[in-house]
């Protein structure tokens, strides 16, 4: 059942990667505000002053 060693190593590596990402999240202040992000997604960011186009000409 040596394949288990591989799977466990791989799974732990993935988990470790996510753990680092989580720690980075906490450290960099991603989770300091746990309310406004849920409101912010509701705002439509479309602007009246700009014209949308039906072609490919304008891109950022």
């Amino acid at each position: 059942m040596s394949v288990m060693i591989i799977l466990i190593i791989v799974s732990i590596l993935v988990a470790l990667g996510f753990l680092l990402a989580f720690l980075w999240n906490v450290k960099s202040g991603q989770y300091d505000d746990d309310y406004t992000p849920s409101i912010r997604v509701l705002f439509e960011d479309e602007s009246k002053s700009l014209s949308s186009t039906n072609n490919n000409q304008n891109k950022s």
Binding site: M1, I6, S11, S38, S47, L50, N56, N58, S60
Partner: protein, 706 residues
Amino acid sequence: MQVEKFYYDNRIVKNFAYATILWGVVGMLAGLWVALQLVFPSLNITQYGTFGRLRPLHTNAVIFAFVGNGIFMGVYYSLQRLCKARMFSDKLSKIHFWGWQLIIVAAAITLPLGITAGKEYAELEWPIDIAITIIWVVFGWNMFGTIIKRREKHLYVAIWFYIATFITVAVLHLVNSFELPVTLFKSYSWYAGVQDALVQWWYGHNAVAFFLTTPYLGLMYYYLPKAAQRPIYSYKLSIIHFWALIFLYIWAGPHHLLYTALPNWAQSLGVVFSLMLIFPSWGGMINGLLTLRGAWDKVRDDVILKFMVVAITAYGMATFEGPMLSLKSVNAISHYTDWIVAHVHVGALGWNGMLTFGILYWLIPKIFKTELYSKKLANQHFWLGTLGIIFYAVPMYWAGFAQSAMWKQFTEAGQLKYSFLETVTYMKPFYAMRSLGGTLYLIGALIMVYNIIKTVKKGSLVADEATEAAPLQKEFKPHSSEHWHRKIERRPVQLMVFSLIVILIGGAVEMIPTFLIKSNVPTISSVKPYTALELEGRDIYVREGCYVCHSQMIRPFRSETERYGEYSKAGEFVYDHPFQWGSKRTGPDLAREGTGNLKKSDGWHFRHFRDPSSMSEGSIMPAYPFLLENDLDISNTKAKIKAMQTLGVPYEKGYEEKAIEDLVSQSLKISNNLISDSILISPKKEVIALIAYMQRLGKDISIDKP
């Protein structure tokens, strides 16, 4: 700060939306067709249209084509808006889109041709596996590129679900697709037997987790608040359940192998993690449903919210059922039955299907700057879909429970009460009812197609949607002359991702072959490699997708050992590349088909392949007349034996040179046997090889007298 003007790319969203709809209909049609084949076996038309070849087509189409494109549609729309940035590269978007569609077309061509790796939900052969890897990396590149150039500092929780999806699916696909190519269209899994089974279900379960669940939860966290016009119930809960979910999911795979030859401690590990999964899963469901607290009146009027509520409810039911099915005592009843088919369809039709429909109805009018053509038709779709799910699931639950009870029923004299065939014919009305449910669901989807075509005609695509946002303030200005590594150090996420990928590929290439070949030393000395003819027969078994309906894994229950013989041992499968344990018994288990009281004559098998119902009245197995006509292709036999040797199968030295000779003499023996049963057939036909394989099954540790 200067506000920047930029444009969202809606064209790519539209393309993925169209692909979602197209492949959705194709996948559902394929599903309905294979459902009907179980009721009317005569619908198995030609060798390219048998159930064994078409069911993988259905599952691949629904999972990777319908849901896959649904994921990309939802991600490409929401990611741009959440990051306040256009997708990183239009070119990458295009390559991603067309690459993925080409992969789907390749799957749709190769699967009916019988080109398959023989592992459930990972059937596609190695060249397509490589293409999937490349396109998946393109997707990730495009996604991370967008995240890096974002104008919004905070990464909304949906984005984390997308990131987890990308990374984990990449890892799963790489590890499970480790295979040794023999020809362009044939490869052998690098793993064998019980190891292959564990890798496969580690992959299989996480495909459910990270392809059908996490991306769709991400979509739920974006589109549900948008459709309901209110924030998610608890953002804090969304963060907590995200991290809990991804840390638990990856350990749950072994619950697909309860009571099999997998070591017991691994089974228990899978059970414990599967049980724990109920908490983060329901965290998501509760968060979704409570978002609508105080707004249930909206659900009454808004058809989009109706779709989403049913989707989230189905998610809640399926993720309650999942942990329950992982309990060994429940699994003893449910495994191998249609109960599992019901379970996955509550997930697929309910959670994935209904959420996709809800998103489509919301998104298409948005990017075409118009209103939905008909709310009434959408309502009809909703009710047809919901009823379809019920008409599908209820008969299947009933069928599964009834069949399992019949399999386990003993008479007072201590003998099995029902033959396997009796349990099959009992299933037919349920299979018919299930097709009705599927039909309703499909009609609903077709109504949606009409509704969307009309909506699209009414509006016009806003291909590049103008918007503006302030750029993200740079917190740090680099020195003009700094060491190159400092640049990488400032990018922790990218660093993590790239190092993970590098470590995985390096580690896999280095470890897997050495590890696995050593462990292929047989633990049961009487277990011998397949002869050349049996190996060719086994490849036909894989090609025809026999594993879709037949298991090769007898669990240690009296009801099974009585019916099929001695329970299966891990050591019996050490030369099985890939393993063929199966997960469903639409037909009986075949692990001991060549031995004990199950043994049949070569002539029986021959007649049974030609027309199953002639030997077992009422059988729903497809007929395989083409096996009697096609000549066995032996041009690769030597290469196959050599590949097996590379994989560590201990053929005697020089066997690859004698392989053909051995194959011919064994075929002659079988065809002579058939002559004595008054069947005249050339020994060169494919059916001879398959019979050889059937007669070999279970023989290694049989206690029969020679």
